[in-house]
Amino acid sequence: MRVSLHRRIAAPIAIATIVGLALVGCAEESGTDSGSTEGQTVKISGGITGTEADALNKSFDAFTKDTGIKVEYTGDKSFEGNIVTKVTGGSAPDIAIVPQPGLLKTLVETGEVKEAAEETSANVDKNWSPDWKKYGTFDGKFYAAPMLASIKGYVWYSPAQFKEWGVTVPTTWDETLALTKTIQEKTQKAPWCAGFASDAASGWPGTDWIEDLVLRQSGPDVYDSWVAGDTKFTDPDIKKAFDSVGEILLNPAYVNAGYGDVKSINSTAFGDVAAKVADGSCALTHQASFLSSNFLDVKTAAGTTPTVAPDGDVYGFVLPGIEAGSANIEVGGEFVTPFTDSEAVKKVTAYMATPEFADARVSLGGVISANLNADPSKASSPLLQDAMKLLQDPNTTVRFDGSDLMPSTVGAGSFWKGMVSWIDGKDTDTVLSDIQAGYEN
């Protein structure tokens, strides 16, 4: 009996020992040697996927040639949710490209984010306006350098159609409303189209509308205090912005061109509107500068790929301010967040803050950078070139996308949901107090 008991126990122990040894062996193999950065691989992850991810990988080619450091970018569509799990689980990538300062704050609070290297910080001072550095700074410590940017609040239209109707690009908000009325009278159809659907993030295109109007109507100071949570959603300044947006988005005569009634805004994917603008069934739509990449895969009524140019098939103008000539614009962007402080990672983050990186990425098309020393003429379309010049212009007042700065329960929660139910017909006051209630969650 004793012998058989021994045998019974011995076998599992032997197996466990073998497995254990095998696993430990694996662990030892993967130790990296320090010293020269040559031949090391830096892993970057982020929410950028598709052709944009290919371009990002390609933009490191020159850097890899010069330094011997390999850069490997992996995109993940649900990056925003997964990165927090990975970081708290102790399995962060070397560098994460974080698209929201609010998320960046959450990550910094885990204590895993490393402070930016001195060289990176110096490059940011040299190449970016102080506003951008501020978004990557928490408690006086600078962590994350900005990467690329996009301008929110473009209005996309067809220059050819504008010519046909004899109308011009508006320079004030009132002119925009007048233009809408003119087009509506000329075509007897709704001029605007909009799409709020974006899976779990449905409603975000609406938040951009509201933010644009708050920034233009009430100015950057109110905008800042609203984003900080001091000005409440229920305050008159914010309600005014909702009412102004409602003049277009809640007016059955003005929306939803090419799709149906007001409520169809919620069921239309935000990127799909590009197809309707291209084929001429929708005269105006409000979306960020990145929509230009959606025009690559659609067709005009004639069956060709639309040209994005001031005299082409589609083009965009920045949603005008209340008065002519005012330049308050809302932007979005990504931040390069290091989780390791090895020499190789320091070199990569420093490189990503240089104009050389901005030029390399911008010339591959589809994106712009707010890097002050980057070359705007490298951007892939006249629209993006103008957008970059606008970002580099010292007279432009730039504010970051408000919903990305608010706590996620509001900025990525009640604000998105509020926009959807507002379109569904809920009255503005209830929607506003519902959104405000997100601060208590």
Binding site: S30, G75, A269, G271
Partner: protein, 320 residues
């Protein structure tokens, strides 16, 4: 000898005739023209979205963005571009083709491991007497309640940081995540998440095996090994096969566990498929082609094991 076979043959024929008769009756009672028509209508309606996706996967991207798939019937235009683009681009560090291989590399072991462990454990829970057997079994069963999402962070930190209690290192943690093309963490994670249900289902099936069979084997001198391999495994094949199908499909379609645990070089098909549409969703038509590439394997698995599936689906369902 001859009379024996004669009787045998006669009774066989009798049984066969009786079976045929009852089968016919069952068929008569269960089918009617109305039911058949209803079944066909339901089948057609349920297939339309998949069919639409199938048609979309062969349409040029710009057509897909402007008109519905049903317009192909009046205005046909087809292309294989979506498939070649989807296979070769992938939209992230891996192409769809590479991640297809990764998916196989993850799924097959992640199906085999939990099944091996679970069938052994189920046999032990059913036919070996040991102390606290029932409490341990209830404990294993209760683990099903733990949602995967809650286990992600602790498990990940166990893998990457190891476990230290009061400064004493209990488990060093392995840095497998950093190794290229390493699947170990994903396999372990999938096996862990599958075990409670696998053990429970197989236990219910294995414990239904008549005690006389096991006892007879014991009397003939069979040990646990022989009983397990020569009696329990052959009898439990339908249950094991049906759970294998389940587990295969779960792991094949899993996105969350793999994204969290796999290193970037061993991400599965679902991850690439998810990224295929691009940051701004402007290339979503590629996903229709990608979806059909990823459907192939589950279909093959399902159809080749389907006869077990129907038999095994009810395994353990009658006894809780």
């Amino acid at each position: 000898m001859t009379t024996d076979t004669l009787v045998d043959n006669r009774s066989k024929r009798q049984v066969a005739r009786a079976t045929q008769k009852s089968e016919k009756m069952a068929q008569k009672r269960l089918t009617s023209r109305g039911a058949t028509i209803a079944a066909i209508i339901i089948a057609v309606i349920w297939t339309i979205p998949t069919f639409g996706l199938f048609v979309t996967s062969f349409r040029p991207g710009s057509d897909t963005q402007s008109t519905g798939w049903w317009t192909v019937f009046v205005n046909p235009s087809f292309t294989l571009d979506n498939y070649s683009q989807a296979l070769n681009s992938g939209g992230t560090a891996l192409t769809l083709g590479q991640s297809f291989i990764n998916s196989l590399g993850i799924t097959i072991p992640a199906t085999v491991f939990p099944l091996v462990i679970a069938s052994l454990a189920a046999y032990a829970f059913a036919w070996i007497d040991f102390k606290f057997k029932n409490i341990v079994f209830v404990g294993v069963f209760a683990l099903q309640i733990v949602p995967i999402q809650m286990a992600l962070v602790p498990l990940l930190s166990l893998f990457s940081k190891g476990l230290t209690v009061n400064g004493v290192g209990i488990f060093p943690g392995f840095e497998l995540r950093d190794a290229e093309h390493s699947f170990a963490t994903v396999w372990i994670a999938h096996a862990i998440f599958a075990l409670p249900l696998a053990i429970f289902m197989l236990h219910n099936f294995i414990s239904e095996i008549p005690g006389e069979v096991i006892e007879a084997a014991r009397v003939d001198g069979a040990g646990h090994g022989q009983i397990f391999f020569r009696i329990v495994l052959p009898l439990a094949t339908p249950a094991i096969a049906s759970f294998a199908i389940f587990q295969f499909l779960w792991v094949w379609n899993d996105l969350l566990v793999a994204t969290i645990f796999a290193p970037s070089t061993s991400l599965p098909l679902t991850q690439t498929l998810n990224s295929l549409s691009g940051t701004w969703g402007n290339q979503w038509f590629l996903q229709s082609a990608g979806a059909f590439i990823s459907i192939i394997v589950p279909l093959v698995v399902f159809f080749s094991l389907q006869r077990f599936f129907v038999r095994g689906l009810l395994a353990g369902a009658t006894k809780g």
